[in-house]
Amino acid sequence: MPRLSVQGLTKQFGAVRALDGVSFDVADGELVTLLGPSGCGKSTTLFAIAGLDRPTGGRILLGDRVLFDGEAGVAVAPEARNCGLVFQSYALWPHMTVRENVTFPLKIRGSRARAATVEVDKVLELVEMLPFAERHPHELSGGQQQRVALARTLVYQPALLLLDEPLSNLDAKLRERTRGWLKELQSRLRVTTIFVTHDQTEALSLSDRIIVLDGGRIMQIGTPQEIYRAPATPFIADFIGGTNFLAGTVTALADGQALVALPDGQMLSVTAATALAPGQQVTVSIRPQSVHLVRGVAADAVASAGRNANLLHGRIVQREFLGPCYQYSVSIADRLVRFETAEDLASNDATLAVQAESCTVFAFEVGP
């Protein structure tokens, strides 16, 4: 039984469709991430669920309760939805102390002062902000403000926790630490959570499931592993994890393997998940991590790289020093293939080994 059900949500801004038939379910206690580039509709979806943005059509249900129904003209006011929204800007009220901020939602719900104090102390303890209870927001660091914003939302035990890029205003180190802490907290409280982000690392590390959005449409829904290993489109492959694309033509098919001819005549054997036909134009995605440098004679290399390894020859056109390793860009059939290695290569030519099962084939072409 899904806790939250979003059905066919659309949002029209004049001629532009910001949301185009977005549908998904979120189960009780699940943490689902809405992931996509800016302008993909992820925040619009989140604010539609919170009731702060009115969609043009579709339905939103929380349990049995209809929060929004475009056709029936139902739109429950945001204050009546019992959602907890944590804003990207934290939106702490500057004229109130930390304690007053966190107490506010309880006061609105008419709880007694004494009971409220106990609740507030408990939740501030939970986010490790109790020692700062009497401070004002401007006296706190970004990370501390973020915790207060979360505490203010958790204190009234919302039916649904909505997080709008809550980590994006923190610096890189703090973001990593907070990410771990947030994950731990969410799994402890088992609160159903929707997390909006444009950062694929956050999405991969935090989520039970990821919903990838682009141009107001859902591109793929799946666990982090599924999305990373079997991206539905070249866009997702590139957006999540980053990848290299090679274009080619299918020449032969045999037991789940396809042989792809690159424009420069090199052959590439790949594992074909989708139905392909000989002569078809395809795009092959190869993650930089799956590309290995081959040294020595070709025959030895094949032996060491394994039976399913492809060998590709190309010219190194760019070299960047990243600290622990170098990143090389190798030109193969007019496309660039990036990979990383600790070796400082002297020559201009390189031979690369790629396992057939680490290639993903898409049955259409994408630009370089």
Partner: protein
């Protein structure tokens, strides 16, 4: 509703709220506030328009519909002449005032002239002082028998100016409106992104060239706006037409209306109604045209952002001469008249032939403080400004919140209505409210109380308060109220607990501005005061009318002193900075 929310876009300040109940508490409050605003303005306008098509006075039960008022208006030479004079005065004063104000603003904000801060303060002070005080001061110094006039006549044998002429009065009116232009222009000059000027400089433009092609276009919206306000200000001006026009036998529309207020016989209600309706129509057309112009000027509004200190233009060896000209101008326009006013309040009469020290007296003040009527007028003015200003602040703050921070379906229309009183001259508002009280029986108890003055002043100064509070509310991050809404607070709770407390400093500023506006208003009171509800300006005009210049000046000094004390107190205790 969704159309409005959609048009305002996703970044809209208002959370899109669903219509679960037809009239929630929030909606009820929003509609009530809108109704109050509409009623306030209707009170001033409807009776006048209604009277213009009635054959008898509005309170007369034999009244019936007629168009003859407009026919008589079309034939009334007296009204035509007065309206024509009003327009000439408005046009000349707009040109003079806008030119002086803009030049001043550019000099003070964009050059390295010494003593800019003091010049800026001196230019702003007249904004908070009644035009009546300035006019009396000018009369005392530059009038036909004025102190400076006499000095000049004795020194050079003739006087190059004549303030009993239409042009002379128009120039004075222009000088009195220059501070308004100044404050509007300096606001946009302060917001000017210095990188725009730096960019022009880096491509090789000379400072004068930059001033002409970059700086001036950027203050164009402010100029357009101030042209409109100055023009309306010229049309509705009462002080100069009364102080200078009456002795010169020059009638203006406002001074003609004023003479009806004190007329012994029953005035021609229908004719007045038709004249006022015509006058309002013209002003409304100007407001609409100005709105159109400013909409097209939206491309000049790319000047938002952090206020920074732009690098001023180096005047070089012109620094001192420019400063001297600026200070001399300020001294002649505002300094000397103020000194004259104060001096006049403390002497029996003022003449260059005798040292004022020989004529020193407390008589003028004694005369005021020994009369309960005049003491009451001072008290009434303070109560109206202090208490009425607070009421108005609360009302306008709530209306502004509805306009900027709600999904009230008619907030666009509400904004238009709240800004409309710019087009209503004070004396016409007074006339309208008076007729409303005469016409509608249940309003009768308000007649002759200070409440009716508070109502009229609140209506007139809606745009002042809205203008002060809008930027404050727009600066508050919309997430702050959206988060309160998502946490379970309805709109009204969010207003009271989040939005208004955060806007506290802005509320204080608005209160100070409204206090000063209420304190200096007198034109609207000319029809509305009665025994017991006099205010300072009315008493001043009364003294003036019987030729008692001394006590009138003394009242002006008292008003000026209270204004100064209030501004200082507001700066000290409320932390309010008045456009420094």
């Amino acid at each position: 509703m969704s159309a409005i929310a959609g048009a305002s876009g996703r970044k809209s300040a208002s959370p899109a709220r669903g219509a679960t109940l037809l009239l929630s508490r929030d909606r009820l409050i929003q509609f009530s506030l809108a109704a109050i605003v509409v009623l306030l303005i209707a009170t001033a306008l409807v009776p006048v328009l209604y009277q213009s098509v009635l054959a008898a006075p509005i309170y007369d039960l034999t009244r019936h519909f007629t168009l003859s008022n407009y026919l008589r208006f079309a034939r009334s030479q007296q009204l035509h002449q007065a309206i024509a004079n009003s327009f000439v005065l408005a046009i000349i004063s707009t040109l003079v005032g806008t030119a002086i104000g803009a030049l001043f603003a550019v000099t003070v904000a964009r050059t390295n002239m010494p003593g800019r801060r003091i010049a800026s303060g001196a230019m702003l002070l007249p904004l908070y002082v009644s035009h009546l005080i300035l006019s009396v001061g000018w009369f005392i110094m530059y009038g036909p028998a004025g102190y400076v006039t006499e000095l000049t006549r004795n020194a050079v044998g003739f006087v190059p100016w004549n303030l009993y002429s239409l042009v002379g009065m128009s120039v004075l009116a222009g000088i009195s409106s220059a501070p308004l232009t100044f404050i509007l222009c300096i606001g946009s000059l302060r917001l000017l992104d210095p990188s725009m000027e730096d960019a022009a400089r880096s491509v090789g433009a000379s400072p004068l060239r930059i001033l002409w092609s970059v700086t001036l276009p950027i203050i164009r919206p402010a100029l357009v706006y101030s042209v409109m306000l100055n023009f309306i200000g010229g049309l509705e001006m009462l002080s100069i037409p009364l102080i200078f026009g009456r002795p010169a036998r020059l009638n203006f529309f406002t001074s003609l209306l004023y003479s009806f207020a004190g007329a012994a016989t029953v005035p021609d209600y229908g004719l007045i109604g038709a004249g006022v309706a015509f006058f309002l129509l013209i002003i409304t057309i100007f407001v609409v045209i100005q709105g159109r112009l400013l909409r097209k000027a939206a491309r000049f509004t790319a000047i938002r952002g952090k206020a920074s200190r732009p690098k001023p233009f180096d005047l070089g060896r012109w620094r001192i001469p420019v400063a001297a000209a600026v200070y001399l101008g300020l001294l002649l326009a505002f300094g000397l008249p103020l000194v004259g006013l104060i001096l006049r309040a403390f002497v029996q009469f003022l003449t260059p032939l005798m040292s004022p020290w020989q004529l020193l007296t407390w008589d003028n003040f004694t005369m005021i403080f020994s009369s309960p009527t005049y003491v009451r007028s001072i008290r009434n003015s303070i109560v109206i400004a202090g208490f009425g200003g607070a009421l108005a602040t609360v009302l306008i703050a709530l209306v502004t919140v509805v306009i900027h921070r709600s999904d009230f379906p008619f907030r666009r229309q509400l904004e238009f209505i709240a800004l409309y009183p710019r087009a209503i001259p004070g004396i016409i508002a007074g006339l309208g409210v008076l007729w409303a009280v005469l016409w509608i029986p249940f309003l009768a108890p308000l007649h002759g109380t200070i409440w009716i003055l508070i109502i009229a002043f609140t209506m007139l100064d809606l745009p002042v308060g809205y203008g002060a509070l809008s930027p404050v509310l727009l600066q508050i991050d919309a997430d702050l109220d959206r988060s309160a809404r998502s946490m379970g607070a309805d709109w009204w709770t969010t207003c009271r607990r989040i939005v208004l407390p955060i806007a506290k400093t802005g509320l204080f500023s608005a209160y100070v501005l409204l206090f000063l506006a209420f304190f200096k208003e007198y034109a609207a009171a000319t029809f509305l005061y009665a025994h017991g509800s006099e205010i300072i300006g009315i008493s001043m005009l009364e003294f003036w009318g019987i030729g008692e210049v001394g006590p009138a000046a003394a009242l002006g000094v008292i008003q000026f002193a209270v204004t100064c004390v209030f501004i200082l107190a507001a700066q000290k205790w409320l932390g309010v900075k008045l456009h420094a």
